[in-house]
C-alpha cells in the first residue's frame, strides 16, 4: 500500500506550510485553525521585534524569575509540626532547578509556600467510610492511578534516570501532588512514599483553594487539607471524627467543596501542559492544552468563530455525568452522583489492573454521545470529471474495472476537544477503510493491525509526530527532547477532515462492493506499550468509535435513505467544505459551501464560510459580498462581524474594523481572537491604552498568547513600565517558535517516506501500482 500526493501540489511548499502550521502548537494553531488570514505582527511590530528580543535577553541574564509563570505564594505562618517538617526536608532538598522553588519545572503551589507533611492529607479510605460510591469509582479511575501505572512510571523513570528526580516535579505536579509538595522528589528523600498508590487522592483535588490562571502544569494552589471548618468558616486541618462531620455536613461541604471545582478552569490546572525551558534547557513548548481546545469549541460558548453551536457544556458535563449511585454516598443528590470515574479514553489502565467495570464504562462512554460522524460522502471515478456526491440521494453508475476515489469525511461532531487530545504521541486513533467485493473478498484495506500489533504505517491516523534534534520520532515520551512536530493530524473540536482512498474494482467483481470506514482507537500505540511491558503483553483494547458502510452496486445505483446517524445533506456539504478548507483547497471549499446555501438559503453561516474561505484565499471583495449577505440574514452575527473586520482592515476602513470587533467582544467577552485583533487594530491606530486593555484581557483568557506577550512588551516599554515589559519580552522570546526547529521535522519526513505525505494537507491513500493518482481532476 502506498500513499500518493496530489501531483500538482508543490511538495516543498506544502510541507513547509504544514510544518509551520503544526509547529506553531495549540495556542497559535487554534488561531490559524480559525482561519484568520492575518499574521500577528504588522510591519511596525516587526521593526520592534529586535528591540523586544534584546530586552528579553537582558531579562534572562538577570535571573530566572522572568520565565516563571507560577504565582509565588506568600509565606504565611505554618503550624509548628509543618514548620519542623519543612525545615527537615529543606535541609537536603535539591533546589537545583531554582533556589527556593518547591515544584519547578512544575507549577504546583501550596499555601504557606513550604513543604507540607504527607500525613496532612487524609487518605482515601478515610473518606470511603462515608463516600462509598465515590471511593469505588475513584479507585478504578485514572486519577487514583495517576502515578503508579506502568505507563506513567516508564516515562517518569526516564526523566529521573537521565535528568534527575528533581525534574520529575514537572510531571508529578499533576501526577503525584503529595509527592511534590511534601518534598519527596529529591535525591535524599525522607518521605515515606506509601501515598503513591493513591495518586490524586480525594484530599488533593478537594484541598485546592485557588487556581493560578490557566497556566497548567499543576497550576493550582493547594491548601492545608481540611475536611471541616469551624462555625466561623475557619478550616480545621487533618482528620476529624466522623460524628463531627455528620453533625455539621455543611461545615464539611464548606471545607471540601469550592465553586470553581465545577468549572473547566479547575481541570485546566492539569489538563494543559507545556515544556518549560527549565525542563528542556531549550525553550517553552506547548505540550497539550485540552482546556484551550474546549474554550475554542462550541461547548464553551466563548468563541464566536465555531462552525456550529451547542449548549454550554463543561469538562465535568461530559466526564463527570451524574448517574444513579449503587453504593451509599452522602454526596449523592436525588439518587444520583457526579461520576468520579472520569470516563474518557483511558482503556489501558483499567485493562492492566483488571478494573473490568471501569473498562466497560469507558468503552460505553467512547461509543456514546454521537461524538464522531463518518460520512462516505462521495466518489470520483477515474476518467470522469464530476464527483458523485453526496452518496445516498444521488443516483450513479459503476462498473467493474473502475478506479474509484472515495471521499470520507470525518467530523469531530460533539467532542469538546480535539480527536485525539493531550498526549498525541502516545494515544492512537485512526481510520480503518475497507473495500470488499464478491464473497467477503478484500479488495483494499487501510488501517489494519499488523501481526506484531503495530498499526499499518500508512494508515490515516489522528496523531502527531514530535521529533528531536536528530529528526527522530520521540517514541518514549521523552518530552524534554522534543524540538519540533513533524505533523499533527488530530481533528480540532467541531471541524471535519477529508480522507481520500483510491482503489480499483476488480474485473471479476460483477455484483457489488462494500466500502466501510471506521474510526478505531487504542489508548496507547503498540510500540509504546512494548516499551513499557516488553513485547510479551496481551493485546490491549482497540475500540471502534464510529463506523459507516455503503454497498455500491456494479451497474445502476438508485438513491438510498439516510441512516439514523447521518447528517442532513446541507451539513454533509458543510463538513466537506471544512475539510477542503483545511486542505487549502479553496475553490473546492467554496463550491461545497455554495451547495450548503443552495440547500439552506437562510443559513447565514454558509455565507460566512464562503467569506472566510475567500479571506484565506486573499479574495477580499468576494469575501465582503458573502459576509454582507450573512449579516443581512443575521445582523448581529459575531462570527460574520469578526470576519468582516478582517475585510475592513484590508480596505483600510479602520473605524468599521473597530466597530465590528468591539461588537464581537461585547457579545463574546472571552473571544480570544477578537481581543487579539482588536488589540492589534488599536495598536495600529496608535491608541496604546486601548490596545493594552485588549491584550491584557486576552492574557487573562490565555496566559500563553504570543501576540499578547509581544505587543504588551512593546506597549509597556513605551508606557515606561519597564519591569512588566521585561517580563513580557522574556515570555515572548521563550514561547515564540524557533524558526530553525521545522528543519528537524523535515529530517524526520525525509527518513519516513511511508508517512511523509501525512504532513501534506492533500494526500491520497491507495495501493494501486505506481503511476500517479488516476481519479484526479476537479476535487
Amino acid at each position: 500500500m502506498r500513499v500518493n500526493q496530489r501531483p500538482e501540489q508543490s511538495m516543498l511548499a506544502a510541507r513547509l506550510r504544514k510544518g509551520f502550521f503544526v509547529f506553531l502548537l495549540p495556542g497559535l494553531y487554534i488561531y490559524l485553525g480559525n482561519t484568520q488570514a492575518t499574521t500577528h505582527q504588522d510591519a511596525t511590530q516587526q521593526q520592534n521585534y529586535a528591540s523586544a528580543q534584546s530586552q528579553s535577553q537582558s531579562g534572562q541574564k538577570n535571573g530566572q524569575e522572568e520565565y516563571i509563570q507560577a504565582q509565588p505564594q506568600p509565606k504565611t505562618e505554618l503550624s509548628p509540626k509543618r514548620q519542623a517538617y519543612a525545615a527537615k526536608v529543606r535541609a537536603s532538598y535539591n533546589f537545583s532547578v531554582m533556589k527556593g522553588n518547591l515544584s519547578l519545572p512544575g507549577n504546583a503551589a501550596v499555601e504557606g509556600d513550604d513543604f507540607i507533611q504527607p500525613g496532612a492529607f487524609p487518605n482515601a479510605t478515610y473518606c470511603a467510610h462515608c463516600h462509598q460510591e465515590a471511593y469505588h469509582q475513584w479507585r478504578q479511575a485514572l486519577h487514583s492511578n495517576s502515578f503508579r501505572t506502568p505507563f506513567y512510571r516508564t516515562s517518569v523513570n526516564i526523566v529521573m534516570n537521565t535528568k534527575g528526580i528533581q525534574f520529575a516535579r514537572h510531571c508529578d505536579s499533576c501526577h503525584n501532588p503529595i509527592g511534590v509538595l511534601s518534598g519527596g522528589l529529591t535525591q535524599e528523600s525522607i518521605v515515606d512514599r506509601k501515598f503513591d498508590q493513591d495518586g490524586l487522592t480525594c484530599t488533593t483535588c478537594h484541598s485546592i483553594q485557588k487556581l493560578q490562571s490557566t497556566i497548567g502544569n499543576g497550576g493550582y494552589v493547594m491548601g492545608v487539607p481540611a475536611v471541616m471548618t469551624d462555625a466561623t468558616g475557619k478550616r480545621i486541618p487533618g482528620e476529624v471524627p466522623y460524628a463531627d462531620i455528620l453533625a455539621h455536613p455543611d461545615w464539611h461541604a464548606k471545607a471540601v467543596m469550592q465553586p470553581f471545582y465545577r468549572t473547566p478552569e479547575f481541570c485546566a490546572a492539569c489538563h494543559k501542559a507545556n515544556l518549560p525551558a527549565p525542563l528542556n534547557g531549550y525553550k517553552w513548548i506547548r505540550a497539550f492544552t485540552t482546556y484551550d481546545e474546549w474554550q475554542s469549541s462550541k461547548f464553551s460558548q466563548r468563541n464566536p468563530l465555531t462552525f456550529y453551536t451547542a449548549s454550554f457544556t463543561t469538562c465535568q458535563g461530559c466526564h463527570m455525568k451524574r448517574a444513579a449511585n449503587l453504593l451509599p454516598d452522602p454526596g449523592a443528590k436525588d439518587g444520583t452522583f457526579a461520576s468520579h470515574r472520569w470516563a474518557a479514553g483511558n482503556t489501558a489502565v483499567p485493562f492492566y489492573y483488571g478494573f473490568d467495570e471501569q473498562l466497560q464504562k469507558t468503552i460505553e462512554f467512547l461509543r456514546s454521545g454521537n461524538y464522531l460522524n463518518i460520512d462516505l460522502f462521495g466518489l470520483k471515478i477515474a476518467g470522469q470529471n464530476e464527483m458523485i456526491a453526496p452518496l445516498g440521494p444521488k443516483p450513479f453508475k459503476l462498473k467493474s474495472g473502475d478506479v474509484v476515489q472515495t471521499f470520507v469525511v470525518i467530523q469531530n461532531k460533539n467532542i469538546g476537544h480535539s480527536l485525539i487530545p493531550e498526549v498525541r504521541d502516545l494515544y492512537e486513533a485512526w481510520v480503518e477503510f475497507t473495500v470488499k467485493g464478491g464473497v467477503s473478498k478484500e479488495i483494499y484495506h487501510s488501517g489494519f493491525i499488523q501481526p506484531d500489533g503495530m498499526l499499518d504505517t500508512r494508515a490515516h491516523s489522528f496523531t502527531n509526530r514530535p521529533v528531536n534534534t536528530e529528526g527522530t520520532f520521540v517514541d518514549n515520551h521523552k518530552v524534554w527532547t522534543i524540538h519540533s512536530v513533524a505533523y499533527d493530524n488530530t481533528i480540532p473540536a467541531g471541524r471535519s477532515v477529508l480522507v481520500r482512498y483510491e482503489f480499483k474494482i476488480p474485473e471479476e467483481v460483477k455484483d457489488a462492493v462494500t466500502i466501510t470506514a471506521r474510526v478505531n482507537y487504542r489508548h496507547l500505540r503498540q510500540s509504546y506499550t512494548n516499551n513499557v511491558l516488553g513485547k510479551d503483553h496481551p493485546d490491549y483494547p482497540i475500540v471502534e468509535l464510529a463506523v459507516r458502510s455503503r454497498t455500491l452496486k456494479i451497474g445502476e445505483n438508485e438513491p438510498t435513505q439516510p441512516d439514523d446517524h447521518d447528517n442532513p445533506d446541507w451539513m454533509r456539504w458543510n463538513n466537506l467544505g471544512i475539510g477542503f478548507l483545511d486542505q487549502l483547497q479553496y475553490a473546492d471549499a467554496i463550491h461545497a459551501f455554495r451547495e450548503v446555501v443552495k440547500l439552506r438559503p437562510d443559513y447565514a453561516d454558509g455565507y460566512i464560510n464562503i467569506g472566510l474561505t475567500n479571506i484565506e484565499w486573499e479574495k477580499y471583495s468576494e469575501a465582503r459580498a458573502s459576509l454582507e449577505k450573512a449579516l443581512s440574514l443575521k445582523p448581529d452575527s459575531a462570527r460574520a462581524l469578526y470576519y468582516m473586520a478582517q475585510v475592513e482592515r484590508r480596505a483600510a476602513h479602520s473605524d468599521a474594523e473597530v466597530a465590528a470587533l468591539k461588537r464581537v467582544v461585547e457579545l463574546y467577552p472571552e473571544a480570544r481572537d477578537a481581543r487579539r485583533e482588536l488589540g492589534i487594530t488599536y495598536y495600529q491606530r496608535d491608541e496604546p491604552k486601548l490596545a493594552m486593555e485588549q491584550f491584557e484581557a486576552l492574557q487573562a483568557i490565555d496566559p500563553d498568547d504570543l501576540a499578547a506577550h509581544y505587543n504588551l512588551a512593546i506597549l509597556y516599554r513605551r508606557a515606561g513600565m519597564k519591569d512588566k515589559a521585561k517580563r513580557e519580552s522574556a515570555m515572548f522570546v521563550t514561547k515564540k517558535v524557533d524558526p530553525g526547529a521545522p528543519t528537524y521535522s523535515l529530517d524526520f519526513l525525509r527518513k519516513h517516506p511511508e508517512i511523509s505525505t501525512e504532513s501534506v494537507p492533500w494526500h491520497m491513500h491507495t495501493d494501486l501500482p505506481e503511476g500517479g493518482i488516476q481519479s484526479g481532476g476537479q476535487y
Binding site: 503508579r148 506502568p150 512510571r153 516508564t154 528523600s189 512514599r193 489492573y353 513499557v532 511491558l533 510479551d536
Partner: protein, 164 residues
Amino acid sequence: MRRVFGLILGVLLLTTALCRGENCAWLNAATAAGVLGGHVTSTVVHTTPQDTTCEFTRLQGAVISSLQIAVHTMTAFEKEFPAYLALCGTTAISLRAVGNEAVECTRPDGQDVVTEQVIGRVRDRVFILRWSMPKSTRGVGVQSQDDIRETIRNVAEQIAGGLF
C-alpha cells in the same frame, strides 16, 4: 532454583561492596521504615553494574525485622523466570498488576522467623522482595494477615514501578 539464588548470594559475598550512604534505587529508607515500623539501617550491594540488592533492617531490642529487595537481570526471562517463581512453591498467590507478573507467598524462615515474599518481573528483570519478621510479632497489633499482604503488595508495586 535454590542453586540460582545461592549463586546470587555467592556473587554477593564475593563482590560485597557495602555502599553505606548509597540510596536503594527501588525503595527509599523512609518508605521501608514506614513498613517496618520505625528507624531502619540499610545496605546496598551491587551484584552487577545494573543490579543491586538492598536490605533494610530494623532493630527493636532483640527483635529484628527486615526488608530485602534483590533485582536481577535475566538473559532469557522465559526460561529463567519460572525458576524464580518456584521459590514461592505451590502456595503462591498471583498478584495482578504488579509488574508484568508477580506472585506472593508466605514461607517459614527458620523456627522463629516468617517471611512474606513477592517474586515479580518487569520485562527482563526479576525482583525478589522479602519481608522477614519474628513469628512472635506477626499478626500482633494493627497488622493482620490482610494488612501484611496489602502492605507487601504495595511495596512490590513500588519496586516494580521503579523498574519500569
